[in-house]
Amino acid sequence: MYNEKVLQHFKDPHNVGTMENPDGYGEVGSSECGDTMKMYIKVDDNKITDIKYQTYGCCAAIASSSIATDMALGKTIEEAQAMSKMDIVQELGGLPEKKIHCSLLAEDALKEAIKDYKSK
């Protein structure tokens, strides 16, 4: 059902944790399946220099958050903002059809964190 890359990220997710005084913070939840994600970003010179998250959810949600944070790290705010769930799914090498919606959580949480950063 899940490919090797998804399982790898699920088994050993990257960038897990919280952050003291983040420059941006986003929290999203899926009313559809109850998954919840909190994302923290540090921004320096318009670039994401640190990123942490916590996720409550299934394998797809965990793997998506892990790879999305990998992808966002080092990107400019504009580049990170342009990331979509399909970019995340593609980077994971695909997700089962029914699990695509789980990747939306990572996209949304990142966008929320960026919005919070911009509002400051």
Binding site: C33, G34, D35, K98, H101
Partner: protein
């Protein structure tokens, strides 16, 4: 070698059972309807299996009808009684297997009225509720013997008495219970009982419906005179022989297995409940011996199940996020669990070959994965609260 802790989903076929089946596939392979010696030999095997099934549940051989499994047996029992009665009211529960629930919903759409009884916090139906739900036009009570998710065993004898007292037919989906706990259909007062071979070390795709002599029921599969004209279709004789052998063996080892599985289940439960905020689901005593169902706060069961799978340990979730949106277990919700608890429930079902070592490994791995997932979870904050 992996550790299989999902015996309520299905079991492997016991080697002794398989040997009997193999012989039936290659040697006594005749069609039981044939008049020649091949047919007679096959019929002999089926007849012996019929007696074995009857013996195991306190019925007579003429009351056993072979089917393709639990789902067909449930469909036949409920639709068959409904078709005979043409109209009326059926009492069931909200925690039945889908084979019963969906069949009742189908009949509801066809004009039958259905009462879906609630269950208590342990997942058991209250006998009083059954009696109170009876109407003048009640044609059937269909209540599962033991629940597939939490293993809770219903007060069958009391329900049987109520059914008898009011002259209402009593069907039970005993798919999870047969071969694991003693069942005597006449002592309990059961009119119809569904069972399935692959839940007790027999093959998949074969089961039986016990129909008490004189029960008003119609057939649902038409086409030939098999099974006294009640269930058409060439008999799956190797499967049926396997069913017979498996149920005999299960009955023989039942007492020992019960004690062994219950002890292993207790060991696993005690180990896992050392984790904070872990909720044990189901009845503490009146349950299938090998069932342990626990909700670990702050985690999603599918994630735990997959992590265990990567470690070679097979368990199942009460809720499977497979349909796009997570459908938390309706059984746990009926028992009053919160949606979070239902989403966090994992079912371990211990079987005949599991060892103490299996249990200790599974407990250890589960504990470390739960801790890992909780560290990842924004929903979990250990406040050191006591387990419930």
């Amino acid at each position: 070698m992996g550790i299989y802790l999902d015996h309520s989903a299905t079991t492997y076929v016991d080697k002794k059972v398989l040997a009997k089946m193999t012989q039936c596939y290659s040697e006594t392979f005749g069609n039981t309807s044939s008049q020649h010696s091949y047919g007679r030999d096959a019929e002999k095997g089926v007849g012996a299996a019929r007696a074995q099934v009857a013996d195991a549940i306190g019925a007579s051989p003429g009351e056993i009808y072979f089917t393709s499994g639990g789902t067909e047996s449930d469909n036949w029992a409920i639709k068959g009684v409904a078709k005979f009665a043409r109209k009326g009211h059926i009492i069931t529960t909200g925690i039945e297997h889908r084979a019963v629930l969906d069949t009742c919903k189908y009949l509801e759409a066809k004009g039958f009225s259905i009462t879906y009884l609630p269950v208590d916090a342990f997942g058991a139906v209250r006998a009083d509720d059954v009696e109170k739900a009876l109407q003048d036009d009640t044609i059937l009570i269909s209540i599962m013997f033991a629940n597939n998710e939490v293993g809770t065993i219903n007060p069958m004898a009391q329900i049987g008495q109520i059914a008898k007292k009011h002259g209402v037919l009593f069907h039970t989906d005993a798919v999870q219970a047969v071969g694991h706990v003693p069942i005597d259909v006449s002592a309990i007062g059961i009119d119809l009982l569904s069972l399935s071979a692959h839940k007790f070390y027999g093959p998949k795709g074969v089961g039986a419906l016990y129909i008490k002599n004189g029960t008003n029921i119609e057939k649902i599969i038409h086409g030939g005179s098999h099974e006294k004209g009640m269930r058409a279709g060439t008999l799956n004789s190797p499967g049926i022989v396997g069913l017979g052998a498996a149920i005999s063996l299960a009955t023989e080892v039942m007492d020992n297995e019960f004690v062994k599985e219950a002890a292993l289940a207790k060991r696993l439960k005690d180990a896992l409940l050392q984790l904070p905020k872990a909720k044990y689901n189901g009845h503490p005593d009146d349950r299938l011996p090998g069932n342990v169902n626990i909700s670990f706060d702050g985690i999603e069961a599918e994630a735990l199940m997959l992590h265990l799978d990567l470690e070679g340990i097979a368990v199942s979730t009460g809720s499977a996020c497979s349909s796009g949106s997570t459908n938390p277990s309706y059984v746990l919700k009926e028992m009053g669990c919160t949606i979070e608890q239902a989403r966090a429930a994992v079912r371990f079902t211990i079987g005949r070959c599991n060892t103490t070592k299996d249990i200790d490994t599974a407990a250890k791995k589960t504990k470390s994965i739960v801790e890992k997932l909780r560290a990842l979870s924004p929903l979990f904050a250990d406040k050191g609260e006591k387990n419930v």
